[in-house]
Amino acid sequence: MIQIEVTYYAMLRERRGLSAESIQTEAASLGALYDDLAGEFGLPNKRQHLKVAVNDQFVSWDSSFAPGDRITFIPPVSGG
């Protein structure tokens, strides 16, 4: 069980009802972590439509993560 920080934006932030939170998790990968959170909080996006970043760098879904990491799930973008 490790502690990480999760940051939410846009539709994910609205559904979760907050911008960031500290979470205790046993998930072994970022993919597993998202699936856990999506199930628990009813997050609207399927994982294949998202990207994920650790400490402000995009990484792959099968990446692992370390205690204290800041993890951001990136919904489909619409800037510009």
């Binding site: 940051t7 934006y9 846009a10 996006n45 990136i74 489909p76 973008v77 619409s78 800037g79 510009g80």
Partner: protein, 136 residues
């Protein structure tokens, strides 16, 4: 260079500070809030961005543009927060010795920005509805 800003973009230092005596061409692009999108009347827009991640990703886009096109300076600012119709959502300026690469680079960067930068737009409609664009 890239920044997010919650103030009107033309006041931003990055807009004012493009200058290079070797540059013969400046191409700028402004994306403005339109009064309609896909047939629905829009009353205002809200933008939200992941600032550090966006800055990192913009650096990659800027490096690609600098490698492909002979340009000397590239500045871009994207608005966050609530915007009214006609306000500027994104501004970018590209300086280059000659105009061809300035046009090409500006177009490349705005196309990539729209695909890759972690920035989200929520539209508010005249009928009271609202929604994040690209939401499932």
């Amino acid at each position: 260079m890239f920044a997010l800003s919650d103030r009107p973009l033309l006041e931003h230092p990055l807009v004012q500070s493009l200058a290079d005596p070797a540059a013969g061409a400046l191409v700028t692009f402004e994306g403005r809030v339109r009064q309609q999108n896909q047939g629905r009347a829009v009353t205002r827009l809200e933008y939200e961005g992941a600032e550090l991640l966006a800055a990192n990703e913009f650096k990659s886009i800027e490096a690609e543009a600098s490698q492909r096109f002979d340009i000397t300076q590239l500045h871009c600012v994207h608005r966050t927060g609530m915007l009214e119709i006609g306000e500027i959502a994104v501004w970018m300026g590209v300086l280059a010795p000659h105009r061809g690469p300035a046009f090409d680079a500006c177009r490349y960067v705005i196309d990539e920005l729209k695909k890759r930068l972690p920035i989200w737009k929520k539209e508010y409609y005249a009928d009271g509805d609202s929604g994040w664009i690209n939401a499932p």
